[in-house]
Structure formats: structure tokens, C-alpha cells
Symmetry: C2
Subunit: 427 residues, 2 copies
């Protein structure tokens, strides 16, 4: 018997001491009403909410869980390091070990700088590009998420336009749009940002067109600007290298975070020698940026990534999930749009502009012990098994049937409607 009494009690307490009750990407504001806000624990591929309900977790903490929650090898290293020291009056040797490990794995990289948030890494990339080139204009793809600082947060309440001066938008995968935006920048182009693939929320994902990626590289070479791949979300989920190695393009900088210490808090900016000088001049720091525990955990995580078949396993199971879901959807008379790499799937329903069908299916899956997201890309982790996918497919079969039975009487989520209206107003 599913209950959410503990979750509700925590929500009521949170409403008093947290503005709006919760904030940021883990708030359930834009999720179906039955989705839990608070969790008790995670183990392997599963999470338990505070009411003891277990879910196979296709969100993986929105990315950080790459090897499985509570990975013993990584956490043993972390606990041992914690007893020696975490944040000290200077960095530990693991700082150098981790920088060498990343530079060794990521082909374009000659150097590394560590920080805490993905946003730290993208902001440092922007500032480094300006310091290196002496130019100001930064190009980002329309709709791409590069963090939640004033220059990039997707919902700009409290942001003044000046904080986004010299930020221009182009269309991802559109060479003509990229060229036109570069031309508009004239001789003031500092950098072009690109996501490794188009993984914007609410819409179909798109893999990078090699022609677009190569043209971005050429335009940076022609103008002296820096090419930056924001691999915070997809890093090491597509390849054991920068994701754009898959299209044969090497950026000058790449941004990393979320998963390379399997959930221990650390992010990184990697760069080549073309912008080493600029990177050495910017002043960035943080209270916990030099902490030893996440760096030790990162060294161990990267070793496992190099030595295990985590990636191949995710691709195999992701394919099984995608193909199985397509067959089940068809059986129940639904058409899905499954996009993005199979190991980072986006699952949207066709003819579902206000997401009501997707939300209903999500709730039906949740009830059956599978946590899927109705509008954000999902993630596979290394410890998922065929049995897990079979469990999820059985749940999906039931869930599709349940939604089919309700169809016609499903109401859209009121907050989603407000959000979609607001988003439409900004374009």
C-alpha cells in the first residue's frame, strides 16, 4: 500500500522555512502530484522515498549517479579520505592526481581546474574565453541550459539585462544560424558554447550534426574564439572522453560535473593550451573547491570508468528499454517520441502538447515502482541489469493500459499549463 504521509508532513514543514517549499531542479513543482519530494536512501539503481516506497530510478539524481548509488569502491575511498582530511588549508595530492587523470582521458585537454557546481565550470569557461581573447561576445544555443548564474539561468527573475550583455543566441545544429550569429559578433567573438547534444527540457533531443560541430570549430579557428562543449550533464555517459570526440571535433574547453566522482560534489573546467594563459589570469575560488574527499572519489571513479564496461552495459540496456517501450506503446495504441542517446533517454508522447498523457503515464509508472521523468532526459547507471529493465517494461505494460483506460478524462497539470504559457510568451 503506497503512502505519502511522511512526504506530506515534510512538505508542510518545508513550506514554513523554505521559500515556496523547495527550489531548483529537484523541486517537484513541475512533476505529477504523486511524485515524492523527499527521499530516504539510494542503493545501486534504486531509491526509497521517505515513506519507504522503492523506485527503480531513471533519473540517477539528474546525472550524478553513474556507477550506482553507494558504490562501495568509491565510497570506501571517500570514507578513508574523510578521516585524513577533506577541506584543509591547502589542496591534497589528489588534486594533481585527478587533474592528470582527466587530462589523460579527455583528448582535447591539457589542463584542469576544479570547482563545485556545473555553473562554476561554465562561468569559468566564459570568463577564461574573455580573458584569453580580450573579446566579449559569447554565443549559446537557444534553449540550451548552461547553469543557473545570472548570465545563464533559464528563468531570469531578479536578473538585470546588463548581466547578459554580449550573450547571443543561435539555433543548435543550424550552420546558417551559427554563421549569421558569428558574423553579427564581428571582431568581438570570445566563445561559442555547445551542448554535446541538444538535451533541452520539454522537447525532443537531437544528436549533434557533424557539419554543425565542425563548422563551429572552423569559425573559432578563423576568429580566434574559444569553442566550449558543456559536458556537465552528458560527460562520460556517451564516451570515455569529451562527448564531441564522437563527431571528431575537439573544443578548446569542456565543462564537467555531476558524475565524474559518482555523486561526490565536484565539477571541473578542462582546457587546452590555446587558453591556458587566460585561465591562469581569472580569479575564481570557493570555500570547498580544494576538498580532498571528492577528488579522491573522482580518481577512483575514473579508474572504474576506464576499467569496466559501464558504458557498453548502459547502451545495451538503453536499447532494450527503448525498443521494449516502443513495442508496448504500440500495443496500447500510443506513439512515443524517444530521442537522445539510449542511455540518456527523453520519452515524450506524440500528440501531447500539454504533457497530460506523459504525466499520467509517469504517475502510473511511479505507482508501479519506476521513477521516470515526463519532460527531462533520463539517465542510466552502471549497475542496472536486464532484470531491472524487464521489471520496468512490465510496469510500463501495466502503466500504458492504465493510461489507456483513463484517456479522455485526464486533466493537464495546472502549473505546467502556467509554465508553458509563460515560456510561449518569451519566444
Amino acid at each position: 500500500m503506497t503512502t505519502n504521509a511522511a512526504d506530506q508532513a515534510l512538505r508542510e514543514r518545508a513550506m514554513k522555512v523554505v521559500p515556496g517549499g523547495m527550489y531548483g531542479h529537484e523541486a517537484t513543482t513541475l512533476l505529477p502530484a504523486s511524485y515524492p519530494q523527499f527521499f530516504e536512501r539510494g542503493e545501486g539503481a534504486y531509491i526509497w522515498d521517505v515513506d519507504g516506497n522503492r523506485y527503480l530510478d531513471f533519473m540517477c539524481a539528474y546525472g550524478p549517479n553513474l556507477l550506482g548509488y553507494n558504490n562501495g569502491q568509491v565510497n570506501d575511498v571517500a570514507v578513508a579520505q574523510l578521516a585524513k582530511g577533506d577541506t584543509l588549508t591547502g589542496p591534497s595530492a589528489h588534486f594533481v592526481d585527478l587533474a592528470e587523470a582527466l587530462v589523460g582521458m579527455v583528448s582535447h585537454a591539457d589542463w584542469a581546474m576544479f570547482c563545485k557546481n556545473g555553473t562554476d565550470a561554465t562561468t569559468m569557461a566564459m570568463t577564461t574565453a574573455r580573458a584569453q581573447t580580450g573579446k566579449r561576445r559569447i554565443l549559446v544555443a537557444e534553449g540550451a541550459y548552461h547553469g543557473a548564474a545570472p548570465w545563464c539561468t533559464p528563468m531570469p527573475a531578479g536578473i538585470v539585462p546588463e548581466e547578459r550583455a554580449f550573450i547571443s543566441k543561435y539555433q543548435y545544429n543550424d550552420v546558417a544560424s551559427l554563421e549569421a550569429t558569428v558574423a553579427e559578433a564581428g571582431d568581438d567573438l570570445a566563445a561559442i558554447f555547445a551542448s554535446p547534444f541538444k538535451h533541452d527540457a520539454f522537447i525532443d533531443q537531437a544528436l549533434p550534426d557533424p557539419a554543425y560541430a565542425k563548422r563551429a570549430r572552423e569559425l573559432c579557428d578563423e576568429t580566434g574564439a574559444m569553442l566550449i562543449v558543456d559536458d556537465v550533464r552528458a560527460g562520460f555517459r556517451l564516451i570515455r572522453d569529451c562527448s564531441w570526440e564522437l563527431v571528431g571535433v575537439r573544443p578548446d574547453m569542456s565543462c564537467w560535473g555531476k558524475s565524474f566522482a559518482n555523486g561526490h560534489p565536484i565539477s571541473a573546467l578542462l582546457g587546452n593550451d590555446r587558453c591556458r594563459e587566460g585561465a591562469s589570469h581569472i580569479y575564481v575560488t570557493g570555500s570547498f573547491w580544494f576538498a580532498a574527499v571528492p577528488m579522491a572519489a573522482g580518481v577512483e571513479t575514473l579508474r572504474i570508468l576506464r576499467e569496466s564496461d559501464y558504458l557498453e552495459n548502459s547502451v545495451r540496456l538503453g536499447t532494450m528499454w527503448r525498443e521494449g517501450l516502443d513495442a508496448l506503446a504500440a500495443k496500447h495504441g500510443f506513439a512515443l517520441r524517444q530521442t537522445g542517446p539510449v542511455q540518456m533517454p527523453q520519452i515524450l508522447f506524440d500528440n501531447d502538447p500539454d504533457y497530460r498523457t506523459g504525466f499520467a503515464w509517469g504517475e502510473a509508472m511511479l505507482k508501479r515502482g519506476v521513477y521516470v521523468h515526463p519532460w527531462h532526459n533520463m539517465f542510466f547507471c552502471a549497475v542496472m541489469t536486464e532484470a531491472d529493465i524487464q521489471f520496468a517494461l512490465a510496469a510500463a505494460d501495466d502503466a500504458f493500459a492504465s493510461v489507456r483506460a483513463q484517456i479522455g478524462s485526464i486533466e493537464p497539470h495546472p502549473v505546467v499549463l502556467m509554465f508553458l504559457t509563460a515560456m510561449a510568451g518569451t519566444h
Copy 2:
């Protein structure tokens, strides 16, 4: 026999894979040449560098070490929580526990939001103030450090002036300067930032003049602007509340970090109901902001702060250290300027404009097993003892004698000279 062979080897490796070899506030670029860059471990009040040299650590990791390194009570909680889960697909109940604990301890606060860097908290305060008031102008004291984002980093390489639009400077503790800067803002004032005391690097510290603090409060009340105390560095080291309770002034927001989870990575913005609405509208988030381990560690740290005499112990030992040092300095013919709260001491030498005497004394202290900083405020932690201070005073007696013997032949640090020249050029 002191050696630094391991440190030197790591520096050489770091120079290849980190721009400039190191960056940020823990880089030794502006410290005496013998100061180690890399550390092996910390225990209680002591740190060991990678060559095995032990130091009584008056930096406390630049603040995060409040209860002593590797505090068993806090770390037992952290390790137990790590096995249950850290970064999951949603926050844990500790999120609410910690928000309630902080709101319970900090008089002005009605709500809390958690983040990772001190800079996250100050940037969220700025954005919340703008979202709440609909106004743009932000006042900060000249020379105050509020983080390393584009709007506030003290060394603005790679920053465009537009990123600092609507940031105005006033003179700390100067009512006339504050009033004039508020007047210049006209009807566009969003917030006044204040450090709890003037703890700028390189100069004497200054406690807040109550007249200045009260006037800042009045000006915010008159204009509808938000008063923000940046307690990231000093939080819980002066009082078990917001630091400006000591001068009877309650801000609308306060920024916290570094120490409230005893070094586990978390920071926070606290606010009152005057700006709850604005805080609920900004979009801020981070990959690890909802992680359970630092929140569990924070709840335990706050419990210890409430139930122990950590603060009174630090004041008692800080007074012993300050008075003892003054006597020893006089004995050796030096005059010190010891400023700031005794538990967050700044120690500068009189007649030492290029810091050469302070640097020489720092090196002499380091050689004798005491890590002091020649231009940044220092920190006491709860587990320091009278025996530790006696050890440090004995070292200081020797160190003063050693510097006295060298006086006249000490050269200034070349990077400090470059830095001071550059700083002079910006004023």
C-alpha cells in the same frame, strides 16, 4: 629536519596540468616561498603537509574548520548518511531539519535556501533583492570580499564592466559615505551588502560601528531595499546567531557557508519574510545542492555549537594569544597591529608596508610548526587548547628573535610587490 621534496614534486606535476600551477584562495602564490602548497591530513587543530611536517593551523582551512578537523561526532553522522545516500533524485529530510535549525538559531531568519559556495549565497542574495524590490542598484563596501563571481571577484580578469552594472561602492563604517551612495541610487536601490566586520585582506580589521549598522538598517527601511549581512567567513565565530546581533541590527538576508557543517560542503542564504516572495521567484540550483551528507553534518554541527562552549573557549584562547604575542613582540622590539575579533585575528607588523617583516615572521613560525598567515585574517577552532597556545607563543618568541637577527637583510616577496603595485593602480 624539515623537507619539502614531496611538495616540490607535486608543484612540478601541477604546473603541467593546472593553469599557473594552482588558483584561488588556497594557492600559495602570495605566501612566503617555504609555505607548503599540498597537505596530507588534518586532525583537531593540526595539519600535516605532504612531507609530513606538522603545523598548528591558525587558518582552519580559511574558515571551514570550526570544531576541529575530523570531528568524530560530525563525521560519524556524515559517514552513516553517506551509506544511505548523498545526492539523490530529491532532497532528504535533513534539508528541512537543517533549515529549521538555522532559522531557530538566527534571529532575523524566517527561511533558508542551501547551496554550495559562499559566492552562491551572496549571488542569490543579490538576485533575491532585485526580484523582491524590482530595483537594480546594489551597494557593497569598498574592498569587501563577497565571492568570486563576475559581479564581485576582486581581480576582474575576463570580466566585462556590464556584469557589474548597478554595483556601487561605499566606505565601510562611514555613515556619510553610505548615505551619499544611497542618495546616488535614487529610487533604484535594491540592497546594501555589509560584512559583519571589516575583514578585508592586507589591512587592519575593523569592528562595525553600531551607528553605521543602524543607519544601514534605517536606509533600507526608508527605501524598501534589502539589508544583507555576508556572514560566510565569520558566521558562528562571533555569536550563535547572525553576527550583527552583536550591534543590535537585524538584516533581511544573511549569507552563510564555510563552517556550519564543519567543513562539509554547504552554504546557505537565510532571509526574513520581507523577501520570501522574491526568493521564491529566482531560479537557482546546482547538481549537489540537495545532497544529504552535508545537511546531516550541518544539523550535528549546529547541535554541538548550541550545546558546547566552543565560542567562549575561542575567545579565551584568542585573548591569550593576542596578549601573549603583544608582550613577545615588545620584548623583541616589534610593534604588532592585532585587529579584528580575537578569535579571527589579523596580525600585521607596524612599519611593514611591503609585508617583508610579516613574511619573514611567518616563515620563522612555519619552521617552528605554527601556520600563520601574513595578510589574511586567521581563525580559531574549538579544539585548540591552552597548551597549543603556549606552544605557539614559544614558537613566536623564537621566531621574533630570528627575524630580529635578520632585520635589515630581509628582501620583500617579488609577487607581493607586483600585487601591491597592481592594487595601488586600481584605487
